[in-house]
C-alpha cells in the first residue's frame, strides 16, 4: 500500500509509558452523577424525566432535539434529584442545564435486547440504533455518529478509517481500549462498513503503541478487508485530515469534507460504542478516561460512568501530589482548560490531565523573530506568524484570507514558538470572532425580514381599510339615490 508523506508536525514528549501498560480500573459508584444536556455538537437535548422519578440503567433521560443532536441515558439506576444549572466542563466555567442523578447502588438495568444480527440490518436501521444509543464522536469532536453514518451512506465511501492513533501526549485510553477490547473494535468496524457499504477499513495506530498494534492485527487477521496501518509517531497524526492524507495520499480540500474523497474517519472508542449498541443494546453511558499529568499521584486509565465529577475521579485515582497549575480535559495540545475539578465527565472527555508548572509552556511572550518554525511545523501548510500578526491588529478578515479557516487548532505552532507567542490562542479568538460575526449578520437579516414583512402587512391592512370605506361610501350613495 502506498503511504504518502504529510507535512509539518511536532514531536512532543509523550508521557504515555506510565499508563499504557496498566490495566483499566473501575471506579466506585459516585454519590451523584451530573449529566449536562449539551454533551455533543448541535442542539441541546431535552429532558424526558421529572425530578423525583426513578430511572433504570440505560434508560433515556434526555431526548435529542432536531437532526443534529444526541440522546442522553442514565448511567446507572437511581433517582433524578435535580434538573438545574451546573458548571459545564468548558473553559468559560458557565453553567448549563444538567440532570443530577442520585445512584441507588443497585444498578438495575432495562431488559437487554435479544441478540440480533447487525449484518441483516439496513444502513438506516443501524444508524437509527446508533442514534438511539446516543453515540457521539468520542475522540473529542462529539459530533453525533449517526449523522456521520447517514452522510456517509449517501455518498460512496470506499475506505472507513478507524482512528486509534491517539497522538496527544499523556492520553492512553484508546491504547488500553485496543489492548483490552480488540475484537469489539473490529466488530464495530465491520458493522460500520456494512452500514456504509464500504469495501475496506483501515485501523490507523501510531507506532508508539506496539502492543495495541499486535492485538489489533490479531483481531483483524480473519478479515481480508480490514488492515492495521502503523502510523509514524508525529503529532498531529491523529487529526482526521492528516490521517486521510497519509493513508489515501489525497488531501481533503480547503472547506471540503472527507466524505468527498470517499473516506470516513471514526475513533476507536466510538467504534467500540457502536459494537456495544448493536450487539448488546447498551447505550453510551460510560467511557475510558486517562487520568494523568505531573500533579497526579498514580496516573492510570479508568472506566468511568458519564456524569462522574472530575474531583471524584481524581480522588479515586489516588489524589493529587500537589495542586495542579492547570487542569485539562483532553490532551495538553488541544485539550480544554477546566475552570475547576467540580465539573462532570462527558461523552468526549478522553483524559483528565493535571499539569504542574514545569510542564506548562512559559507565558513570557516576546516579539516574533520571524524564524519560521511555526510555518515548517504547520500540518495545514499555513503561515501562523502572518495570521497572528493580522489578528493582533484586529484584521480578522485578512487572516481568514490567508487560510485561518483551514487551521485545525492543533497547537503545533504554539508548541515550537521560541518567543512563546500564544499563536493558537490568536486563531481560536479569531475563529470565534468570525463565527459571532456570522451569527450577528444572520440575526440582522432576520430582523430586517421581520420589519419588512410587518410594514407590508400594515400597508395591506391600510389598503383593505380604505377599500372597505370606499365600498361603504358607494353603497350609502347608491341607497341615497334609490331613496331620491
Amino acid at each position: 500500500m502506498k503511504l504518502a508523506r504529510t507535512r509539518g508536525g511536532v514531536h512532543p514528549e509523550y508521557h504515555k509509558k506510565p499508563t499504557s501498560a496498566l490495566p483499566v480500573e473501575s471506579l466506585p459508584l459516585p454519590q451523584m452523577l451530573y449529566l449536562p444536556l449539551q454533551q455533543h455538537v448541535g442542539t441541546t437535548a431535552v429532558p424526558v424525566v421529572k425530578v423525583g422519578e426513578y430511572v433504570r440503567k440505560g434508560q433515556m433521560i434526555a431526548s435529542a432535539e432536531g437532526h443534529l443532536s444526541a440522546h442522553i441515558h442514565a448511567p446507572t439506576s437511581g433517582k433524578i434529584k435535580f434538573i438545574a444549572d451546573f458548571t459545564a466542563p468548558h473553559p468559560s466555567g458557565l453553567p448549563t442545564l444538567t440532570i443530577q442523578l442520585e445512584p441507588d447502588g443497585l444498578d438495575i438495568a432495562d431488559d437487554e435486547l435479544p441478540d440480533r444480527d447487525p449484518f441483516a440490518l439496513s444502513s438506516r436501521e443501524i444508524s437509527s440504533i446508533v442514534s438511539e444509543a446516543g453515540i457521539v464522536g468520542m475522540g473529542g469532536a462529539a459530533f453525533p455518529s449517526a449523522v456521520k453514518l447517514d452522510q456517509g451512506s449517501k455518498g460512496q465511501i470506499h475506505t472507513l478509517i478507524i482512528n486509534g492513533s491517539e497522538c496527544e501526549p499523556y492520553l492512553t485510553c484508546d491504547d488500553r481500549l485496543m489492548q483490552e477490547h480488540a475484537d469489539g473494535i473490529v466488530d464495530g468496524a465491520r458493522i460500520m462498513m456494512h452500514a456504509l457499504n464500504a469495501p475496506c477499513a483501515r485501523i490507523a495506530i501510531e507506532g508508539n503503541k506496539p502492543e495495541a498494534i499486535a492485538t489489533m492485527k490479531a483481531a483483524a487477521s480473519s478479515w481480508d478487508n480490514i488492515a492495521v496501518v502503523p502510523m509514524p509517531v508525529c503529532y498531529p497524526m491523529g487529526s482526521a485530515k492528516q490521517m486521510i492524507q497519509f493513508i489515501t495520499g489525497k488531501e481533503v480540500p480547503a472547506g471540503g469534507r472527507s466524505a468527498e474523497l470517499g473516506v470516513l474517519v471514526h475513533n476507536v472508542a466510538t467504534t467500540f460504542a457502536v459494537h456495544q449498541a448493536l450487539r448488546t443494546g447498551r447505550p453510551l453511558i460510560s467511557r475510558l478516561v486517562t487520568v494523568g499529568g505531573g500533579a497526579i499521584r498514580s496516573p492510570r486509565n479508568f472506566h468511568v460512568l458519564l456524569g462522574t465529577l472530575v474531583s471524584d475521579l481524581i480522588e479515586s485515582s489516588g489524589g493529587l501530589k500537589e495542586s495542579p497549575a492547570r487542569l485539562l480535559s483532553g490532551g495538553p495540545m488541544m485539550g480544554q482548560i477546566m475552570p475547576h475539578a467540580h465539573v462532570p465527565i462527558v461523552k468526549n472527555t478522553s483524559g483528565i490531565i493535571a499539569l504542574i508548572g514545569s510542564e506548562l509552556q512559559k507565558d513570557d511572550t516576546r516579539p516574533c523573530i520571524r524564524c519560521g518554525r511555526c510555518v515548517s511545523v504547520c500540518p495545514a501548510g499555513l503561515l501562523p506568524l502572518q495570521m497572528a500578526a493580522r489578528i493582533r491588529v484586529d484584521d480578522v478578515d485578512g487572516a481568514a484570507k490567508i487560510g485561518l479557516t483551514d487551521c485545525i487548532s492543533c497547537g503545533s505552532c504554539s508548541y515550537v514558538c521560541p518567543s512563546n507567542i500564544p499563536l493558537v490562542h490568536y486563531f481560536t479568538f479569531a475563529k470565534g470572532e468570525l463565527s459571532s460575526r456570522r451569527e450577528q449578520q444572520r440575526q440582522n437579516d432576520h430582523i430586517r425580514g421581520l420589519t419588512e414583512s410587518r410594514s407590508k402587512r400594515l400597508a395591506e391592512q391600510k389598503r383593505a381599510k380604505a377599500e372597505e370605506l370606499a365600498k361603504k361610501k358607494a353603497r350609502s350613495n347608491n341607497s341615497k339615490e334609490t331613496v331620491n
Binding site: Q38, A88, H90, P91, S92, G93, L94, T96, P339, T365, I391, V393, D394, P422, H425, Y426, T428, F429, G432, E433, S435, S436, R437, E439, Q440, Q441, Q443, N444, H446, I447, R448, L450, T451, E452, S453, R454, S455
Partner: protein, 179 residues
C-alpha cells in the same frame, strides 16, 4: 397691444413648457448610495441614532454627516458593512463592543394594554388585551421603542446572558472574562 399680449402669452407658454420638460428630464436623482445604505440598515425605524428613521439616517450617512457607528442594533457587522460601502477607514479596535441587549417584560407590572406590541417594528412581542405579554427573544432587535409606550414602565432592556454557545475566547493579552 395685441402683439404685446401675444408675446407675453407665448413667452409664458414656452417658458412653462421648458420648465415642465426640465423638471422631467433634468431631475436630480436621489443619491443612489442612500438607497444601498438604507437596504443595509435594520429598517426598524427605532430612532436610536438620533435621526427620525432609517431613511433619514441613510441620507445623513451618504452625505458623510453621520458616523458609521451610529446604529446600535446593527452591531459590529453593520459598522463593517457601512465602512466598506462608504470607503471609510475604520479602526475596529476602537469600536466598543456593546453587549447584545434584549427587551424584557416584568410579569408583575404588565397590565396587558397591548401598546407595546403595536409599536414593535419586528412583531417580537406577543400578547392580547388583559393578558400577560411576552418577548420572542430571537425576534427582538433591542430598538427600545416599546419602552417609551409602556404605561407601567414594566419594559426594560437587559443584556443577553452569555451561554456556552455564545461564549468566545478573548484576544490574547486582554484580560479574560472572570469566572
Amino acid at each position: 397691444m395685441i402683439s404685446a399680449i401675444m408675446v407675453i402669452t407665448s413667452m409664458g407658454l414656452g417658458l412653462g413648457y421648458a420648465l415642465a420638460l426640465s423638471s422631467r428630464y433634468l431631475k436630480v436623482e436621489k443619491n443612489p448610495i442612500t438607497e444601498d445604505i438604507e437596504a443595509l440598515l435594520p429598517g426598524s425605524q427605532c430612532g436610536q441614532c438620533g435621526f427620525p428613521g432609517c431613511g433619514a439616517a441613510a441620507e445623513a450617512l451618504s452625505r458623510g454627516e453621520a458616523p458609521v457607528t451610529l446604529c446600535p442594533p446593527g452591531g459590529k457587522v453593520l459598522v463593517m458593512a457601512l465602512a466598506q460601502k462608504l470607503s471609510v477607514e475604520l479602526d475596529l479596535s476602537s469600536i466598543e463592543e456593546q453587549a447584545p441587549m434584549l427587551a424584557v417584560i416584568k410579569a408583575e407590572t404588565c397590565i396587558g394594554c397591548t401598546r407595546c406590541l403595536k409599536v414593535c417594528p419586528t412583531d417580537a412581542i406577543i400578547g392580547a388585551p388583559k393578558q400577560l405579554h411576552t418577548v420572542i427573544k430571537s425576534a427582538c432587535s433591542a430598538c427600545g421603542k416599546c419602552i417609551g409606550v409602556c404605561p407601567t414602565e414594566c419594559l426594560h432592556l437587559q443584556p443577553v446572558a452569555q451561554d456556552l454557545k455564545t461564549w468566545r475566547w478573548s484576544k490574547p493579552g486582554q484580560i479574560t472574562a472572570q469566572i
